[in-house]
């Protein structure tokens, strides 16, 4: 019995020591009062410090929409920016613009976990890919008509499979973006796509005016989620990585909506928020129930109970395009 308890203690300690923690980043702009050409308030990439303040990293940049990280080394970040795709090899402190004049106003970036060095960017005029850590790029959107692409995701479970959210719907590829075809049932003007961290065949998509859509077959076909009516723009989707049946959706008008039954029903969680114009939401993977929300030109808000109660959490006057959780680099 003694030795069994020692074994249990050892196992628990090992598990605790090896539990992955994450660094929190956000991409956003202090937009209140800013017009192009004027002095830009702090904008671009921020990281949450141990003091729970947002530390501005590197340059001021008015249009940073997304980031992803290199699965081999999470200190390497790829940023989707107005000036192009930006690479940082030191967790955001220094930047290098990877792309050239023929790429602009990036909407999203996705690193391929199956192919080291491969990444994809969503553009106003399609999709581009690099297979050499961003040194060279080629457009790879054959089959996508009306090229405006808002979001792109690599299926973490099926190699070669990606989904792109575009003006005309969700497009799917099974050959690493060489060819795309339109997924059945998805509406137009996709704003976000996310893959469930619990059930890899399950995906959700947010739209500009058609509500929320779900796929249970790896993104091949889509059906509307009746619990959220069409109309207002939905901007982001967040699965709770610690609670398999919990997810959050946010938008302009609905504010923050929480489901605890995998999307069968949604409940507004806006009490304590100054408005229901919400740009992004995300669950912290390390803290059960911790939810971040960006309220339009107000601030970042944080809840420790999945939106039941909110408190102001910096970034005054901002629009946050997304919250991102990057694993701390292991020694």
């Amino acid at each position: 019995m003694f030795w069994l308890n020692c074994l249990r203690i050892f196992a628990l300690a090992t598990l605790t020591l090896s539990a992955q923690t994450h660094r929190v980043f956000l991409c956003g702009a202090t937009s209140k009062g800013y017009v192009v050409g004027a002095k830009l308030p702090p904008s671009g990439l921020f990281t949450l410090t141990a003091r729970e303040t947002w530390d501005h990293l590197s340059y001021n940049h008015p249009f940073l929409s997304s980031l992803d990280y290199d699965r081999r080394d999470p200190r390497i970040l790829y940023l989707a920016a107005g000036n192009g795709c930006i690479r940082s090899s030191d967790s955001g402190r220094t930047w290098r613009i990877l792309t050239s004049w023929n790429v602009t106003e990036l909407q999203d970036v996705a690193v391929d976990p199956h192919h080291p060095g491969t990444l994809f960017i969503a553009l106003p005029d399609g999709i581009a890919a690099s297979t050499d850590d961003g040194r060279t790029w080629r457009h790879t959107d054959t089959g996508i008509s009306r090229k405006f692409t808002k979001t792109i995701r690599v299926d973490r479970a099926i190699e070669g499979r990606l989904l792109a959210g575009t003006e005309l719907g969700i497009f799917l590829t099974t050959d690493n973006a060489a060819h795309w075809s339109r997924a059945a049932g998805a509406p137009e003007m996709i704003t976000a796509i996310e893959q469930s961290p619990h059930q890899p065949a399950e995906w959700l998509a947010a739209t500009q005016s058609s509500g929320l859509y779900r796929s249970g077959d790896n993104g091949s076909s889509w059906q509307p989620v009746s619990a959220i009516p069409a109309g207002p723009t939905l901007y982001k989707i967040a699965y709770d990585p610690r609670q398999p049946r919990r997810l959050a959706v946010c938008g302009w008008g609905p504010g923050v909506l929480i489901s605890d039954d995998n999307g069968r029903t949604f409940t507004p969680r806006n009490t304590g928020l100054p408005s229901t114009q919400v740009w992004s939401v995300a669950f912290h993977p390390d803290h059960p129930g911790r939810l971040y929300a960006s309220v339009h030109e107000e601030a970042v808000f944080v809840s420790e109970d999945a939106g039941l109660h909110w408190s102001r959490h910096g970034m005054e006057g901002s629009i946050i395009q997304g919250f991102f959780f990057v694993p701390e680099a292991r020694r």
Binding site: R96, W101, R146, T191
Partner: protein, 570 residues
């Protein structure tokens, strides 16, 4: 002696008779004397080799807090090239360091990118062989240079094959001319200098043929709330005066004119000056341009824009085909008349549909719908106003035949602003609302007949003039202009117009049959197919260029000049 010369220049009126070098000098001297300590003053002083200590000190102060993105890049680039050993090592170092520590946003318009890449090209040239960690891009000098050069060649080729996207801008013409002036002066590559000179010729010729005593007339990709009514009051007038001695510049000159002047101060060939100034014979001019990049709601990235301009000594009538060709600041058609001194005067008449929609904004911008209108209104304050006179509309279609315009409107129910606006200034010599439905007016020496096709009322316009407000979804305007010199008197003009056969209907769609004053039988129905297949990049007695050609032939009398970029652009 230098001080006396300066004082005389500053005190002397900006006479049209001043020679080109003197006009250049006046612009520079005026800016050198400005008290505000801006980059333009530094540049002017460095050009004149004055106060280098002050320039260095002030430059370092300004560089402590850089801002303005591409609008910061080009002044600092000029200062860098005008340095010529005058700046202190500390100031020079601060300038160089700022290109590492400050990341300018590249922007989202054609003019932004030209400023951005010309600046990056020249700064990479000035500081060659430097590694990526010395530049905000993270790229080396050679990488920056190569990227900038590629873009510049791409832009030049696009402009000279399918037309400029941000064409004929009353304000942003300055932002096209000054970077090209920079390249023409400071590029170490003789081919790039030559390219820049030819592009200057191209863009200046484009302006020259569509100016009336220095006023930029006709349809514009972009103008603004002031210059759409007060046609003189903008940057283009600076360049009309600077390049050709025409009209009147802005008080104190725009800083675009300054930066143009301290770089190459390029003077266009005499034949272009003749085209700019000779209004002895009326002419018809057509142009092919392109829209700004369309990101959504269309399969065509850059749709064609078909412009028509009729130029007379006393007035000009110009138009595009209608539609949303540019976001927010498009101006589609008007008649503008010449005045001895147009400063402070509104000398134009036109109609338009005040369209405001996230559809337009999401077509041309990558923004999402909920905030985009508010974001636009923060800088373009009249965008979402029913009273505005600026902007294009998907519900407007325009036909121009010489100095006759027919503009038709088919506005769907539920449209945000379901009416059209017409503008009439308050300084018309004659103004009469005739029982026939025609409105007769005289501006300068231009006789104007304006026929609204639907009932209307008048509203005052702040700053002077009146707005013709016609709240009818099916609508239209017919405009016929003529010179006072064609008729014994205004009454004769009125009789001539009233005698012209006119038939129109508004339902089910607006349509007009009208015999113009020039004897042309015009038929135009909203939505009818139109044949623009023969449209050229430039087509007039003075300018000729075929699409795809990279070649523009300039002719005036026996003088010929060819702007040839075929060998210079890959």
């Amino acid at each position: 002696m230098n001080l006396l010369f300066t004082a005389l220049l500053l005190l002397a009126p900006a006479s049209a008779q001043t020679a080109f070098p003197e006009r250049i000098r006046k612009v520079i001297e005026t800016n050198a004397a400005l008290p505000n300590g801006s980059y333009q003053t530094i540049a002017a002083k460095l050009y004149l080799h004055r106060d280098p200590q002050w320039c260095s000190r002030r430059l370092e102060e300004l560089l402590e807090s850089p801002s303005g993105d591409m609008f910061w890049m080009f002044p600092v680039t000029a200062v860098a090239y005008l340095d010529r050993g005058q700046l202190t090592p500390s100031a020079r170092n601060a300038l160089r360091q700022s290109w590492k520590t400050y990341m300018p946003f590249r922007g989202d318009t054609e003019n932004h990118w030209l400023m951005y890449y010309v600046s990056l090209y020249l700064m990479s040239q000035l500081y060659p062989d430097q590694p990526g960690d010395t530049w905000y891009t993270g790229k080396s000098s050679s990488e920056n240079f190569r990227e900038a050069e590629e873009y510049l060649l791409h832009w030049m080729k696009l402009t000279t094959t399918i037309g400029q996207g941000e064409y004929d801008c009353t304000h942003y013409i300055g932002v096209y001319l000054l970077p090209l002036s920079y390249l023409a002066a400071w590029s170490e590559d003789p081919k790039m200098r030559l390219r820049a000179q030819r592009m200057l010729d191209w863009i200046i010729a484009d302006y020259a043929i569509e100016n009336l005593d220095g006023i930029y007339i006709g349809a514009h990709a972009r103008t603004d709330d002031i210059q759409v009514l007060e046609k003189w009051n903008g940057v283009s007038s600076d360049f009309g005066w600077l390049l050709f001695g025409l009209g009147y510049p802005l008080p104190g000159f725009s800083y675009y004119a300054l930066f143009y002047s301290v770089a190459s101060a390029y003077q266009p060939p005499e034949v272009i000056r003749q085209i700019a100034t000779d209004r002895s014979r009326p002419y018809l001019h057509r142009e092919l341009k392109r829209t700004r990049n369309r990101w959504r709601f269309t399969d065509v990235r850059n749709a064609p824009v078909y412009k028509t301009t009729y130029m007379h000594h006393d007035y000009a009538v110009g138009s595009d085909q209608g539609g949303i060709l540019q976001p927010i600041q498009q101006h589609s058609w008007d008649v503008t008349w010449a005045l001895d001194d147009p400063r402070g005067k509104r000398n134009t008449i036109f109609s338009m549909h005040p369209y405001s929609s996230t559809y337009e904004l999401q077509m041309y911008f990558t923004a999402m719908p909920d905030f985009v209108t508010e974001a636009v209104v923060r800088s373009k304050k009249t965008y979402d106003s029913p009273d505005k006179f600026l902007g294009g509309s998907p519900y407007e279609q325009i036909l121009q035949d010489q100095d006759t315009v027919i503009a038709l409107y088919d506005i769907p129910p539920g449209t945000r602003f379901p009416h059209i606006n017409g503008f009439f200034p308050d300084n018309l010599t004659h103004f009469e609302e005739h029982p026939s439905g025609w409105i007769f007016a005289q501006g300068g020496n231009a006789f104007i007949a304006y026929r609204p096709l639907a009932p209307y009322e008048w509203k005052p316009v702040p700053g002077g003039g009146r707005r013709l407000l016609s709240p009818h979804l099916h609508n239209g305007t017919i405009l016929q202009a003529a010179s006072a010199s064609e008729f014994p008197d205004f009454e004769a003009f009125r009789r001539a117009i009233l005698a012209l056969p006119l038939h129109f209907q508004l339902d089910p769609v607006p349509g007009v049959r009208f015999r113009s004053l020039r004897g042309h039988d015009l038929r135009f129905t909203y939505g009818q197919p139109r044949d623009f297949s023969q449209w050229k990049l430039f087509d007039s007695p003075y300018l000729q260029s075929a699409p795809g050609g990279r070649l523009l032939t300039v002719t005036h009398g026996n003088d010929h000049y060819t702007i040839d970029l075929r060998e210079l652009l890959p």
